[in-house]
């Protein structure tokens, strides 16, 4: 997925940055856009202009775009990426404050502006925020600290080397002098920024005062008192409300609609047909779908008018996709040992298969919805020569050129205010709802418009997690060790471009490709028009389920202990030198967490009557995570997950509370998703609200025991990687309890339910 995000991000970010650079003539950037600009000038931040001329007596110190210190001692840290519930606003604040050596009580964290020239890539996706910003945030904090130290050294006439810092204070131990950061702010603001951020001395891990401790979320007080934080909470003077009614079958157009009647309804100010700007059958929603826009004086006036709307849809361009058909076609294809596209071959798998009796299994997993709780919405205000938006997007950079294209302005005339996101899960990496708002706002110029999706709009026009199918043949040797594997995945592709549907791909290095002497991975792809997109741990959340379930099947067939079976496979590469670049699957880290989870869960030890364990390991988003589910299953096939033991190697943890929260949430999310599905017939989703898509509620939430290895690798993100191992761990435990192998998701297909 990293490659996919890079592809998603590269073009718009570079374009936006180039425009921004030329516009501002901003020459002081060091290290190029996207890296090393931590101590660039604080372009766009308030009060910076005053620091460029003769400074007034009391100016705030804002050495970079990340740190701002007021003479009164208040420290404001700017979090560059969207907060979607992954806790990044708090984690980024902790990293900055650590190197700044600030007292946490002095710190306020605010969402930064969206500006690629200052901040580089700004997005929440791929669990990449921490690994992509670990260095530059530490440098930003350390750079500001260095300038404060320098200011104190000049003031006291002592060498910088004699000074230390602690709790937002510079200290000269030899003379007993101390100066608060606030008292040094004005002097520090007049100093040049450090020339080379990479030359700054960063703290040793053993000296951390903040990183690794527990912090409550920086917005929690505002959340529990109901303060407006979300885009849906934005209220502007004279604001109108709007809704865009789209064809239930994705891609359908409006043939006719009772527009004149709608316009006369109470509280309605306008209604019009939208031709749309998006391609009718596009795997990624990149624009406005056709439909009918209704604008009115309140949300309810608009929602009520929708009930009176009569549209005749032209289905000629609409999706005709049918899940029933896909299931049948995939089953036919699965009997072939090799698909249309071979993605990896090692040795001679056909020869091995011909001379052995392989273990065979065929897996099927459903489409699911993001179902994030805040329905899509955006406030947009088109002012003729510019447009201003307030949006809950995970990928703000992409929305700028998208909106610019829709309203016919240059991207530098688009201002986007990043709002807290009421659940992301990948859905809001697509900016279709921002596009909707921009489109409608242009038709109603000089008026702020709050564009609201209903829950039904949201679930009907989701960018779903793609379903799929996997056919495995595994061969065991005489010692019961895994000798060879043949994997044929049946996935989906765009019917026009033939590009694989998002998260419907099979990587050449997928485990265990590099661990076997005979291996083949291949794909067949069915044409799909339903929009699909990134969904929490895209690709890996389903790959983990099929692969780690099948590994358990192999261990059972070999009559070997599952933990020992998996450790033996990873052991074949133990001690291998780590590769360059972003960390890939590291067998030693895998072995470490599998052993840790087994030890903590009491693997192999006696269990209470009726309890059974299931294990899975998966590497995703740079995180190595092993999970063990402890379940019981009653006579009615109701599965209770009593406990999940989770062992994570994500390097050093930034905020222990936030990290545990993510893991707990991933386990609940995985349990929820085990029992859910979106089916589509005639191109339309069959489940459009929580009554038919019953996301999990409070009862029977399991105990989640989280153990972090705290290794010395660079820290990686945790919004996603705890999700993939959970479903196979639970399904493997169900097998241990019942002898029934779950090969189809949702598990309700086999008569099971999750308590």
């Amino acid at each position: 997925m990293i490659a996919e995000f890079e592809r998603l991000l590269a073009q718009p970010v570079e374009a936006a940055a180039a425009q921004s650079l030329s516009r501002r003539g901003f020459m002081k950037l060091s290290g190029g856009v996207g890296g090393g600009l931590v101590l660039a000038l604080a372009v766009g931040l308030p009060d910076q202009a005053s620091a460029q001329g003769a400074p007034p007596p009391q100016v705030p110190f804002a050495p970079g775009a990340y740190v701002r210190i007021s003479p009164d001692g208040k420290i404001t840290l700017y979090s560059k990426n969207p907060e979607i519930g992954q806790g990044i606003k708090t984690a980024f604040g902790v990293i900055l404050a650590e190197e700044l050596d600030a007292a946490w009580a002095d710190v306020t964290v605010e969402q930064s502006e969206i500006n690629a020239a200052v901040y580089g890539a700004q997005f929440a996706g791929g669990s990449l925020s921490i690994p992509m910003n670990w260095d530059n945030l530490r440098q930003a904090g350390a750079g500001a600290r260095a300038m404060l130290v320098s200011a104190a050294a000049k003031q006291w006439g002592v060498a910088e080397s004699e000074l230390t810092t602690a709790d937002s204070t510079v200290i000269h131990a030899a003379s007993g002098r101390k100066a608060s950061y606030g008292s040094l702010a004005t002097a520090a603001a007049a100093l040049p920024v450090p020339a080379d951020p990479k030359a700054l001395k960063l703290k040793d891990r053993k000296d951390y005062k903040l990183i690794g401790k527990r912090f409550t979320g920086v917005d929690n007080l505002d959340l529990v008192t109901g303060k407006p934080l979300f885009a849906i909470d934005v209220n502007l003077p004279g604001m109108l409300y709007a809704s865009l009614v789209k064809c239930p079958s994705v891609g359908g157009k409006v043939a006719s609609a009772n527009i004149d009647q709608i316009k006369k309804l109470p509280g309605i100010t306008d209604a019009f047909i939208v031709e749309g700007t998006a391609k009718p059958a596009n795997v990624m929603l990149t624009g406005v779908l056709p439909g009918v826009a209704i604008v009115g004086k309140s949300t309810w006036a608009v929602f009520s008018a929708r009930k009176q709307l009569k549209v005749t849809w032209d289905h000629s361009t609409a999706s005709k996709d049918s899940w029933t058909d896909y299931v049948a076609k995939a089953k036919e294809l699965s009997v072939k040992p090799v698909g249309d596209k071979v993605v990896r071959t090692v040795g001679d798998i056909d020869k091995v298969l011909a001379s052995a009796k392989p273990v065979e299994a065929y897996y099927q997993f459903a489409f699911v919805s993001h179902a994030q709780l805040e329905p899509q919405n955006t406030v947009a205000w088109f002012k003729g020569d510019s447009i201003e938006l307030w949006a809950p997007t995970q990928l703000p950079a992409n929305s700028l050129p998208l909106v610019a294209g829709i309203v016919g302005l240059k991207a530098d005339k688009v201002t986007l205010h990043q709002m807290r996101v009421g659940g992301g899960f990948g859905r809001r990496l697509l900016n279709d709802f921002v596009a909707d708002a921009a489109y409608v706002a242009k038709q109603v110029p000089n008026t702020p418009i709050k564009l609201m999706w209903t829950r039904e709009d949201d679930m009907e026009h989701d960018a779903y997690r793609v379903g799929g199918f996997m056919s495995y043949k595994g061969v065991l040797d005489e010692q019961g060790k895994l000798a060879a594997l043949n994997a044929h995945m049946i996935g989906f592709e765009d019917p026009v471009s033939k590009a694989p549907t998002t998260a419907s791909d099979f990587g050449a290095n997928e485990f265990p490709a590099n661990y076997l002497t005979d291996y083949r991975a291949s794909m067949s792809r069915l044409p799909l028009s339903m929009p699909c997109g990134p969904w929490r741990a895209p690709g890996t959340n389903t790959m983990s389920w099929v692969q780690q379930s099948f590994f358990h099947e192999l261990a059972v067939a070999a009559k070997r202990d599952h933990v020992e079976f998996l450790l033996e496979v990873f052991g074949r590469k133990a001690g291998a030198a780590p590769q360059a670049g972003p960390p890939g699957l590291n067998p030693d880290r895998a072995i470490g967490v599998i052993k840790l989870a087994a030890e903590k869960a009491g693997w192999g030890k006696p269990l209470p009557k009726g309890r059974h364990l299931g294990m899975a390991f998966f590497f995703s988003h740079q995180g190595h995570i092993a999970e063990i589910a402890e379940v019981s299953v009653d006579a009615k096939k109701k599965v209770t997950v009593h406990k999940m033991t989770v062992a994570c190697d994500i390097g050093p943890v930034i905020n222990l509370s936030g990290a545990e929260n993510q893991v707990q949430g991933c386990i609940v999310d995985a349990m929820s998703t085990l029992a859910l599905e979106i089916t589509m017939e005639n191109g339309a989703a069959q489940q459009v609200n929580y009554d038919k898509y019953p996301a999990r509620r409070m009862p029977n939430s399991p105990q989640v025991d989280v153990h972090f290895v705290q290794s010395n690798y660079n820290p990686s993100g945790l919004g996603e990687p705890a999700f993939p191992p959970a479903a196979p761990a639970i399904c493997n435990a169900i097998f241990a309890a019942t002898g029934t192998r779950i090969r189809t998701l949702p598990i309700t297909k086999a008569g099971f339910s999750v308590a």
Binding site: V224, I232, N235, S298, T299, P375, G423, Y690, N700
Partner: protein
């Protein structure tokens, strides 16, 4: 003209349709946006407020039905800067992830503690029917127990 008593204040709202749900009067007319829209069909509970102390899904009752009754929203939970024990427990236990459902969760939990000052896990399961898509249930339960313990001996006022 609609008269509502919201968080102890008399409010009047002009020109709204009789079928307007209380949710949209609170959000669009009174700008009390702490109460959230999630599903519009009474499923998710993000819109939970109190009507005379009872938790209700405000997307499911017309605002006119609340005329003359006491409506409490998340903005009215605490008196001034003094947080309730539940609000404090939500912060102490770092409950929220995205946070969108949490005002509804707090309103439901507040009503729970009024009925059951020391709730059992079973009572929590029965009462707390709101959806948290981020899955913060483990922490919600902890925070409810913590708030109950903190208010024990203080008359149970959460």
């Amino acid at each position: 003209m609609l008269r509502l008593n919201v968080n102890g204040q008399e409010r009047t709202i002009d020109g709204i349709a009789d079928d307007t749900p209380l949710l949209w009067v609170l959000r669009d007319e009174l700008k009390l946006v702490g109460t959230k829209f999630g599903c519009g069909v009474g499923q998710c509970g993000a819109c939970t407020v109190h009507l005379n102390g009872q938790p209700i899904r405000s997307c499911q009752i017309p605002a006119v039905a609340a005329a003359g009754e006491k409506v409490t929203t998340v903005e009215g939970l605490s008196a001034g800067a003094q947080l309730t024990a539940l609000q404090q427990a939500w912060i102490d236990h770092d409950v929220p992830q995205c946070g969108y459902c949490q005002s509804g969760q707090l309103m439901t939990a507040t009503a729970l503690l009024k009925q059951h000052p020391k709730p059992t896990d079973a009572q929590i399961d029965q009462f707390m029917t709101n959806i948290c898509r981020c899955g913060t249930y483990v922490r919600i339960r902890k925070a409810i127990h913590a708030a109950a313990a903190a208010t024990a001996g203080k008359g149970g006022a959460a």
